[in-house]
Symmetry: C2
Subunit: 321 residues, 2 copies
């Protein structure tokens, strides 16, 4: 199926309204079936790679943090981006699991008493409630190391240069200029008034960096042209921001049972959100605009089939939890 995007169109990445998005991007695509197949691979791989045999209960805590839960949005973004560029399967599966491990470790540490002090995650007791704080801290640390370990297998299955690139991207997305930096801004922002620019910067790092990183890591599993990579990166940035805007909306509109975590928490702790800044209606409109921006970037990528990525952007904006 041809997306009908010519290289000439791709070379001019102008913002496109919804009516100008090439129609093939809206051609029937069964995200449910696609995700189901991909998630089976991801869950199987995570279960193999996050071993229970780490010493003194550490492996058990790591598996508890990673398995049987989560939407796996980041792995799906890696796999969809890799598919879009014809990427290497083994590399993409490893990258998909590595970003999920980083995400999982960040949740473990984020939930700890010295951070958000949350006791419920995905409807289960958080890791430190179940295994104690010290083991939760170590499990998070070990998951981060394992993420880089997954990206660097011995043997010929993933070319060394690709391994190095993936590690570079993951370190960037996870570190002080990415997720960890965003969390530091978040910490410092409680009870302070932020401008929209400051809020955007916080979320660009805290949530956006790893979501965007997932897309560019998927793209790095193949041999896409620089223009296509730039467009996918732009898609990832828009999707990352949309994810956070919708998260802020759901924090006030959904209940804890639907979310699988404590609802209304941000408002209660006086954290700045898109809803507190823009109001509910404008926040919802902003999420819609970001969805369109994500679609436009895909159209501009010149890649023949980006339907999975397009469907994931829709899912992020339309989700109810």
């Amino acid at each position: 199926m041809d997306a009908g995007v010519t290289p000439t169109m791709a070379a001019v990445p102008t913002p496109l309204g919804p009516s100008t998005v090439p129609t093939a991007l809206h051609a029937p695509f069964d995200l449910g079936a696609w995700s189901h197949a991909q998630l089976a691979r991801v869950e199987d791989a995570l279960s193999r790679w996050v071993c229970s045999d780490a010493p003194a209960g550490l492996g058990e805590a790591m598996r508890y943090a990673v398995l049987d839960g989560g939407k796996r949005l980041r792995p799906l973004l890696v796999l969809a981006a890799s598919e879009a560029v014809g990427g290497l399967d083994e590399a993409a599966l490893r990258a998909a699991c590595s970003v999920e491990l980083i995400h999982a470790y960040s949740l473990v540490h984020d939930d700890m008493p010295c951070m958000d002090n949350d006791v419920l995650r995905r409807g289960k007791p958080t890791v430190h409630v179940r295994f104690g704080e010290a083991r939760a801290l170590l499990a998070g640390d070990a998951l981060q190391a394992l993420a880089f370990g997954l990206l660097t297998p011995e043997g010929p299955q993933v070319p060394p240069a690709m391994q190095a690139t993936l590690c570079r991207m993951l370190a960037q997305a996870a570190g002080a200029d990415g997720m960890a930096g965003g969390q530091a801004i978040d910490l410092a922002s409680v009870g302070r008034a932020l401008s929209e620019a400051e809020l955007r910067q916080m979320h660009r790092l805290k949530t956006g960096a790893l979501l965007q990183g997932s897309v560019v890591m998927g793209a790095a599993c193949g041999q896409a042209a620089p223009a296509a990579l730039a467009a996918l990166s732009q898609y990832g940035a828009a999707l990352g921001l949309a994810f956070q805007v919708v998260d802020d909306i759901l924090d006030v509109t959904a209940d804890s049972a639907t979310l699988g975590k404590t609802a209304g928490k941000d408002a209660a702790s006086d954290k700045p959100t898109y809803v507190s800044l823009l109001g509910l209606e404008r926040a919802q409109a902003h999420a819609g605009e970001l969805r369109i921006e994500a679609h436009a970037a895909l159209a501009a990528s010149g890649l023949p089939d980006t339907r999975a990525l397009a469907a994931l952007a829709d899912m992020v904006v339309n989700r109810s939890h």
Copy 2:
């Protein structure tokens, strides 16, 4: 200066008593001058690479955790091993800093109230005392990511295959099968009787993995023969264990001012140590045996000049803090 080790000797790595260690290994080598020059490079590089511009005070906490303190034993091991194999300078400097960042992050997390609850480190307030627990947690997390970031620079200065190998080794040394796993055993062991084998396994992971990892990462910056790499790895294992045995000895023989951290802590918290297991005298004898084992491995490596590594092993065993 020729070490007088012939390839034939190197191919037969038999355990050597002190009298059979080739004499050139004991030829004059000024460890002080060598370390001084190497440390100047390491401190300068760490100060450049651990930036203060990470957001919301995170960079400040990271620099506090890393700069102006520490013996830098791990970086020196990387640089000495790299020198022994004629390794690539830029790769070795990056690897040296990366292992120090892993070490620094582990200390930050280890000192936190939910772990060792220590308030003094290198004579200064610990990171969580100075910056708060949440920021200490994030600073540790960001330092681990940065360690992998340092190993994967863009551009031609470090070959991609070497980058990938170094990341693999670091992930192995830091993760559940290395340092983090050892810490989990340590946690679980408080108040329990351990056999010497169990104690050895705990320290092989907790302290030994990163020390040995430093040696093999340094060796991976060059093109040594597999037999030489195996010998250096053996050297690293002996040195790593010796380091811990001496640590346990110093915990009972030195005072807090000399150590720069709380002395007598392990005994007070009922942690098993080599001294509690073997007694002081046998622990001291064991440290001496491990030193000889380290020297024998260097002799068996067949490498022409391993004097810096030999001197570091002596320093580890003879140190007073």
